[in-house]
C-alpha cells in the first residue's frame, strides 16, 4: 500500500500540479461545470437531469484521457521509466498508483465543479431557500463519475503502454473515445423498446454503474497482466 501511495505522491509532484499550466485543465472543467452552465441554466441546473449527468461524465472522462496519456508514454518519452523499473517497486504498485491518482484527480475536479455549480446556481437564481440537486441523482453522478473516471484512466494506461510518445497516446485515446461514444449510443438503441418503461431511472442508473464497474475490473485485470517490466523495457 505504501508503494502505491509513493507512486501517487510522485505523479502529483511530477505531473498533476507542476506550475500554473497544470491548473488550466481543472480550471476549465470547474469553470464550465461550476460557473458557466449553472449561471446559464439558473434553477433548471439544479434538476441534474440524465442529459446533464451524461455531459458531466463526458467532460470528466475527457479531462482524464487528456492527462492519463502522460502516465506511461510520458515516462517513456522522458526516459524516466527505465530507472523506475530498475528499482524495487512492484509493477502492480506502479500501475495502481498511477490509475488511482489520475482517477481521483478527475473525479475530484468533477466533485468540486458539481458542488460549486450548486452554489453558483443558487446565487444566480435565489429561490428563497437553498436548493440542492435531487439526492439520488447526485449520488449516481458521484458513483458513475468515479467508475467512468476509472474506466478512462485504465483505458488510457492500457493504450499508453503501447505508444512511444504522449502525442501518439493522446491521439489514439481521442479516437478511442469517439468510437466508445458511438458504441454506447448504438448499444442504447439496441435495447428493447419497453426497457425504459420497465425499469425506473434509479434502476437503470444502477445497472449502468454495475456494467461500468464490471468493465473496470476486467480492463484492470487485463492491464495488470500486460504491465510487465520486461515488455516495458524492450518497448
Amino acid at each position: 500500500m505504501s508503494d502505491i501511495w509513493t507512486i501517487m505522491w510522485k505523479e502529483w509532484k511530477d505531473s498533476l500540479f507542476q506550475g500554473w499550466r497544470a491548473w488550466i485543465r481543472p480550471g476549465l472543467l470547474i469553470g464550465i461545470l461550476g460557473i458557466i452552465w449553472p449561471v446559464l441554466g439558473k434553477s433548471a441546473w439544479m434538476d441534474l437531469s440524465v442529459i446533464q449527468m451524461v455531459v458531466i461524465l463526458f467532460f470528466t472522462f475527457f479531462v482524464i484521457i487528456s492527462i492519463v496519456a502522460d502516465s506511461i508514454a510520458g515516462e517513456r518519452e522522458r526516459h524516466t521509466l527505465g530507472t523506475l523499473l530498475a528499482s524495487r517497486i512492484s509493477d502492480r504498485a506502479i500501475l495502481l498508483g498511477k490509475v488511482t491518482i489520475v482517477a481521483l484527480y478527475g473525479w475530484g475536479i468533477m466533485v468540486v465543479g458539481l458542488f460549486l455549480g450548486a452554489l453558483v446556481s443558487n446565487l444566480a437564481d435565489w429561490q428563497g431557500q437553498f436548493v440542492f440537486y435531487p439526492i439520488d441523482m447526485v449520488l449516481f453522478t458521484l458513483l458513475l463519475g468515479l467508475l467512468v473516471g476509472a474506466l478512462g484512466t485504465i483505458l488510457g494506461v492500457l493504450i499508453s503502454l503501447r505508444m512511444a510518445t504522449v502525442r501518439q497516446a493522446q491521439q489514439t485515446l481521442m479516437i478511442g473515445t469517439i468510437v466508445l461514444g458511438v458504441a454506447v449510443i448504438g448499444l442504447v438503441q439496441l435495447l428493447p423498446k419497453d426497457f425504459f418503461t420497465t425499469f425506473t431511472l434509479d434502476e437503470i442508473l444502477l445497472m449502468a454503474a454495475g456494467l461500468v464497474a464490471v468493465l473496470d475490473v476486467l480492463l484492470l485485470g487485463f492491464t495488470l497482466a500486460r504491465f510487465q517490466r520486461a515488455k516495458l523495457i524492450l518497448s
Binding site: 505504501s2 509532484k13 528499482s87 520486461a230 523495457i233
Partner: protein, 311 residues
C-alpha cells in the same frame, strides 16, 4: 554478503538473430569496482538489464548478491542502485524531491531521507540548488544527482551505465573524482559500464572487455596490460625507414615495430633493454632525439583485443 557480488554462468540473451550477450561467464568479487568495457552496442546495457532481472536470459544464469536473476529479481532490485543509460530524473521535480522519491521507494524514514539528501547533495556541491527544478540544471549537475540517487538507499551493489558518456573531459574528470570518493566511502560493489578507458583505469580494480556480446578478456588493468600489451618504447627522431623497421622486427626482443605520427613505436617482449635497439637505429642512419619507455595503456589493450577479435 556473498563472496561474489555477481556471478554469471554461460549467460546469453538473443534478440532475433542478434546475440546481445553471448555465453558470458563472469565473477565479480564483492566490494570492488568492476569495469565492463566495450564499444557501443557490445552488450553492456543488456548485461545490466539481465543482472537486474529486467530481461529474462535466453540461456544460462546469473546470481546477484546471492539471488537468482530469473526467480528473485525483486530481491536483487531491492538491494541495488542504478544509473542506467539515461539519468532517469524527473525534471519537473526538485532535486530534493527526486531523492525523496527514491528514499520512499526504498522505505527510508522521513528523517533518514532528509539526512541522507543533505549528506549526498552537500558532498556533491548541489545542496544550495536542492529546491530548483532539475530541468533547469546543467547536464553535469543532473548526472551527479543521478549518482546520488543510485547511492541514496546505501545499496551494497550499484550499476552505473556510462555515467560520463557525452561529457567534456573536465566535467567527466570531476564526476569520476566524485564517484571514486563516494564509492570508496560507501564501500559498495560497483558494476561500471563504460567505453571510456581512462575512467576504467582510474576507478576499476577488475575489468572485463566485451565485444558483440562475448567476453574477450577479464582481469585487473595491470594484468591485462601485461597479458595483452607488454612493455613498449616510443622513439622520437628521424630517418626511420622501412628497412630499419624490418631490421628491428627481426630482433628477438621486439614484438612489433611501427611508425605512428612519425614516432617509432616498439612493442617489447619481457623486460627488454632499449639501449641495444637505439644503437641499432643509429647504426642504420636513424637519428634519436628522445626515448620513452612504458607499459601499454588500457586503451592499447582494448584496441588490440578489438583488432584480434575482428581479424
Amino acid at each position: 554478503m556473498a563472496e561474489y557480488a555477481i556471478r554469471t554462468h554461460h549467460l546469453s540473451r538473443i534478440f532475433g538473430s542478434v546475440h546481445a550477450v553471448d555465453d558470458l561467464s563472469l565473477e565479480v568479487p564483492a566490494g570492488m569496482v568492476f569495469g565492463f568495457l566495450g564499444a557501443n552496442g557490445a552488450g553492456k546495457t543488456t548485461t545490466i538489464h539481465l543482472l537486474l532481472g529486467l530481461l529474462e536470459p535466453t540461456a544460462g544464469q546469473a546470481t546477484v548478491l546471492g539471488f537468482d536473476s530469473r526467480t528473485q529479481a525483486d530481491q536483487i532490485r531491492a538491494r541495488t542502485g542504478s544509473l542506467l543509460e539515461f539519468n532517469g530524473l524527473y525534471e519537473r521535480m526538485s532535486a530534493e524531491d527526486n531523492l525523496d522519491l527514491y528514499g520512499r521507494i526504498y522505505h527510508l524514514s522521513a528523517a533518514d531521507r532528509q539526512a541522507r539528501a543533505k549528506e549526498l547533495l552537500t558532498h556533491l556541491g548541489l545542496w544550495d540548488r536542492r529546491k530548483d527544478q532539475v530541468g533547469t540544471w546543467s547536464r553535469g549537475m543532473k548526472q551527479k544527482l543521478a549518482v546520488a540517487r543510485a547511492l541514496f538507499h546505501r545499496p551494497p551493489l550499484i550499476f552505473l551505465d556510462e555515467p560520463t558518456s557525452g561529457f567534456d573531459p573536465l566535467a567527466a574528470a570531476t564526476l569520476r573524482d566524485d564517484l571514486a570518493t563516494l564509492v570508496k566511502r560507501e564501500g559498495a560493489t560497483v558494476f561500471l559500464n563504460t567505453h571510456n578507458l581512462a575512467e576504467a583505469e582510474r576507478l576499476c580494480a577488475l575489468v572485463g572487455v566485451i565485444r558483440q556480446g562475448k567476453l574477450l578478456a577479464l582481469g585487473n588493468p595491470d594484468e591485462l596490460r601485461f597479458k595483452q600489451g607488454g612493455p613498449q618504447a616510443e622513439i622520437v627522431g628521424r630517418g626511420f625507414t622501412n628497412d630499419l623497421l624490418a631490421r628491428l622486427s627481426e630482433r628477438p626482443e621486439v614484438a612489433s615495430a611501427e611508425l605512428q605520427n612519425g614516432h617509432l613505436l616498439l612493442g617489447l617482449r619481457g623486460e627488454s633493454e632499449v639501449g641495444p635497439l637505439v644503437s641499432l637505429i643509429v647504426r642504420n642512419g636513424g637519428e634519436v632525439e628522445e626515448v620513452r619507455k612504458g607499459a601499454a595503456s588500457l586503451e592499447d589493450v582494448f584496441l588490440t583485443l578489438m583488432e584480434e577479435e575482428h581479424a
